[in-house]
């Protein structure tokens, strides 16, 4: 669906993007993750044709955005970081303007009504955009991206500034849209990307530092397992009992959770939950809590961004981070 090859972009002398490449298949949802100023918006602006790159190519459905911008742009719906809304227009007037601007060949009224229902702005259709709340403005922005049913949706931080209820709604909507559209979305919120996206691209200082499936980044497919344990008993005795268990590679004491109880993190090569249960039961130590610890995307992200990943290049295996 989309092929991005070796994008490089300079802002005066600052290198904003450095050899960014990735591909996305039809129907996939890609999360674009990175700190402020990493190059997320720049990449999106180049894909949509708002900016030009200094080198590299963008192909949408086989159409090069530089060679045939009009045809390529017809396939894209774009919600920029700040929704491009004309404050002096009504929601309906604005959406009709976008409809004509995109030269959509569909029945206007029906198409706009469907989109308004989908993003839940039907009740404010007659209102002037200036008077809308942040949440509604964001949804009108999303509605304009959806006009013409473009196969590729590019959403730059679609949930910024929304309240938790609205965030949940928008995420649900994005997942729903993902059934019919290919989506690229950027976010600071790792949980959001984790909840919505199939693939994750982490970008830092204009470089892609990780390009992986969400599942492998969060460690569900990793070979190391971690358990968090709270056990009633003496630290040294419990620790030595745990270390004796077959498969356990490391036991870390975290402190006294409550009186007479110790908290540990146990790393192992395989699932040792049953062995731990039996072994501790035999020695009369009561297990009060046992939870598998998943390496969260936050940990992975911070590891990558703070530089542990400098050796990692795009496409490398980051599952063991």
């Amino acid at each position: 669906m989309i092929k991005v090859r070796n994008l490089t972009k300079y802002y005066v002398r600052n290198k904003a993007l450095d050899n960014v490449s990735f591909t996305l298949k039809e129907g996939e949802i890609l999360g674009f993750l990175g700190p402020n100023g990493a190059g997320k918006s720049t990449t999106m602006n180049i894909i949509t044709g708002y900016l030009s790159s200094d080198s590299g190519t963008v192909e949408i459905d086989g159409i090069n955005i530089l060679e045939n911008p009009t045809a390529a742009k017809k396939k894209i719906g774009y919600l920029p970081e700040i929704p491009p809304l004309y404050n002096d227009m009504t929601v309906k007037g604005y959406l009709e303007f976008i409809f004509r601007l995109k030269k959509v060949r569909k029945p206007v009224k029906e198409h706009i009504n469907n989109i308004c229902d989908q993003v839940k702005i039907s009740d404010v259709k007659e209102k002037i955009i200036k008077n809308l709340s942040k949440g509604y403005r964001q949804r009108v922005g999303l509605a304009q991206a959806l006009i013409g049913d473009p196969p590729l949706l590019i959403l730059d931080e679609p949930t910024v500034g929304l309240d938790p209820q609205q965030i949940i709604e928008i995420r649900r909507l994005i997942r729903e849209l993902g059934k019919k559209h290919t989506i690229i979305l950027s976010s600071h919120l790792l949980s959001e990307v984790q909840a919505v996206c199939d693939k994750i691209l982490i970008i830092n200082n204009g470089k892609i530092v990780a390009d992986e499936l969400t599942s492998s980044l969060t460690g569900t497919g990793s070979s190391t397992e971690k358990l968090s344990l709270i056990v009633e008993g003496r630290k040294t005795q419990v620790q030595s009992a745990l270390q004796k268990i077959d498969g356990v590679t490391n036991v870390t004491y975290l402190g006294e959770a409550e009186k007479g109880c110790c908290e540990f993190t146990v790393s192992s090569r395989r699932d040792v939950r049953r062995l731990i249960f039996r072994s501790l039961a035999k020695t009369d130590f009561n297990i009060l809590k046992m939870t598998p610890v998943e390496l969260s995307l936050e940990d992975t992200y911070l590891n990558i961004i703070t530089g542990k990943s400098e050796i990692k290049e795009a496409g490398s295996d980051v599952s063991n981070l």
């Binding site: 949509t48 044709g49 708002y50 009009t70 017809k74 404050n87 002096d88 227009m89 976008i98 030269k103």
Partner: protein
């Protein structure tokens, strides 16, 4: 293209700008008409058209100041530039909508012409020729205004710079009178807006004047297109 044209045109009337421009133009055109036709008892509207040069010069920056500057400030240019529309179409749509607002202003001359017809015998060929002349003069000023608006994010800055540029353009004649340097006089005469417009006002439509204003218009529309395009590469 028609979508942008329509939106831009309507936007003049969702803010006070369109009404203010129309009111100011009609007010001054009415005053000049009263003093130079009704009060002096003549049917020649040449004086009115000549006096209106100054008003056109000051009113057009108000029409063009927001067209590109506001789009950049509010980021609405992202909607336009990521839509399947070329930059030339965007520039031309904005130009035509500004020119349409100006054309509405010219209705005041039609009303004045009708008034003259009722009172005496109006020379409609002069009036129509003048309206045509004023439209191509305005087209040049509008294209310069659009160009200046495309250089900045602030509509106020765009308006002030356009005023200054327009005043400088009108000062060209003064320079040519006072400098007494042959070459300079020739150059300033050739590019004098007021001098060329003056020919229209007295009822002479010459091809060279028409070509001059059309060339200026095309040049600045082209430059505007380049500025918008260049920003994509910045």
């Amino acid at each position: 293209m028609s979508a942008i044209y329509k939106r831009e045109f309507m936007s003049y009337f969702t803010s006070p700008v369109g009404y203010a421009v129309l009111a100011a133009f009609m007010f001054f055109s009415g005053i000049f008409f009263y003093y130079q036709c009704l009060y002096t008892g003549t049917t020649s509207m040449s004086g009115v058209f000549q006096s209106m040069f100054l008003i056109v010069m000051f009113i057009i920056p108000l029409i063009t100041m927001r067209s590109f500057a506001d789009d950049r400030k509010n980021k609405t240019d992202q909607a336009l530039l990521t839509a399947p529309v070329g930059i030339p179409a965007i520039v031309i749509s904005k130009f035509l909508s500004a020119l349409s607002i100006f054309a509405l202003c010219l209705c005041s001359f039609v009303i004045e012409g009708v008034a003259l017809t009722i009172l005496a015998k109006a020379d409609w060929s002069v009036i129509i020729g003048n309206i045509f002349g004023m439209i191509i003069l305005a087209a040049s000023f509008i294209s310069i205004g659009l160009f200046i608006s495309s250089l900045t994010e602030s509509s106020i800055v765009a308006a002030i710079v356009s005023f200054v540029v327009n005043v400088l353009i009108s000062l060209l004649d003064t320079i040519s009178y006072t400098a007494h340097i042959d070459v300079l006089t020739k150059i300033t005469d050739a590019i004098s807006f007021q001098g060329r417009y003056g020919n229209f006002a007295i009822g002479q439509i010459s091809l060279s004047d028409v070509v001059f204003f059309v060339t200026v218009t095309c040049l600045f529309l082209f430059l505007t297109d380049r500025i918008v395009e260049r920003r994509r590469w910045a």
